[in-house]
Symmetry: C2
Subunit: 180 residues, 2 copies
């Protein structure tokens, strides 16, 4: 995995892909599938929606760190599988044949098989709305990966795969930060 400038990390998240969020609770790793995410600015800050209903939430609240790993369409069955079982009784890395990799800053693991990984610190938890605010502290992409298409959950059990790209950089020049 190649390190990515933090100022570009939001471009991994802005299109709204389903992501995997890893935590480490002091004893073991866990992974949850999250579709409810939001970029908060042209900064490496993100929001995710989670709460007590996710086993990972306890580790997220206690250790205040996680990794957002971005899977691609070839991993969809793993992504759905991870989202439909619980870390309370399942070692999800073992069950779904994923490889944890130690990051540079946080104890939660990167996922080797993913297209991109973002190490994050918890900045704030807005309990009233179950919103967790994260700040990226390191980001990586796997430039060798051929499959780059992410998937977007519709919410009814169906998913939309990335299609063609359209370039509006010229029209957007006044709004996009320099260097992107």
């Amino acid at each position: 995995m190649r390190q990515l400038q933090l100022s570009r990390a939001f471009t991994l998240m802005e299109s709204g892909p389903v992501v995997l969020v890893t935590t480490h609770d002091g004893k073991q790793h866990n992974i949850m599938t999250i579709s409810w995410t939001m970029v908060l600015d042209f900064t490496p800050e993100f929001a995710i929606t989670t709460g007590e209903w996710n086993h990972s939430f306890a580790a997220l609240r206690k250790n205040r760190e996680c990794v957002i790993a971005i899977p691609t369409v070839d991993m969809l069955d793993q992504v759905v599988g991870i989202g439909t079982c619980s870390g309370a009784d399942t070692d999800k890395f073992a069950r779904f044949k994923l490889t944890p990799v130690q990051g540079k800053v946080v104890k939660a693991p990167l996922i080797k098989e993913c297209l991109a990984n973002i190490e994050c610190k918890v900045v704030d938890i807005v309990r009233k709305h179950n919103i967790v605010v994260l700040e990226a502290v390191a980001a990586y992409v796997d430039p060798a990966r051929k499959e780059k298409r992410t998937v977007h959950a519709v919410g009814d059990g169906t998913f939309i795969v990335d299609g063609r790209k359209m370039d509006r950089r010229k029209m957007m020049a006044s709004k996009v930060p320099d260097g992107l």
Copy 2:
């Protein structure tokens, strides 16, 4: 436009499309382009990131209502145009040849040309993070529309168009609310 059950409204937003958000400030309509959105639960609640930097924010804060309109790929140049000029000096409905339609609940207009529209009330504004929490109060889709592909902003001036759909309803049955 055909009314959509409120319990399904989140499925219009969960995949993370770029949306148009309309407001009415008591005198005139306005529209902003927003890519930073998040579903908050299997309820018709959403979060959007916005603040003083958007002219629409004053109306949103004052009147505590808006419409989220979901455009499709054939509207991309309008979407980008709306996002790169200001309602402070532009009548965006006129400039971008869009038709405001009165909704049932809020004063902010639906956009006739969009695939779907969601009338929303502001539930809360989390100023610290520029997060506005919305509750849907009515939702509509245009079943006659042929083009249904939405677009997802990457954040660098490029966009990803919806590609193929994949069905994982059976695997997801334990997680998806009944009736979806």
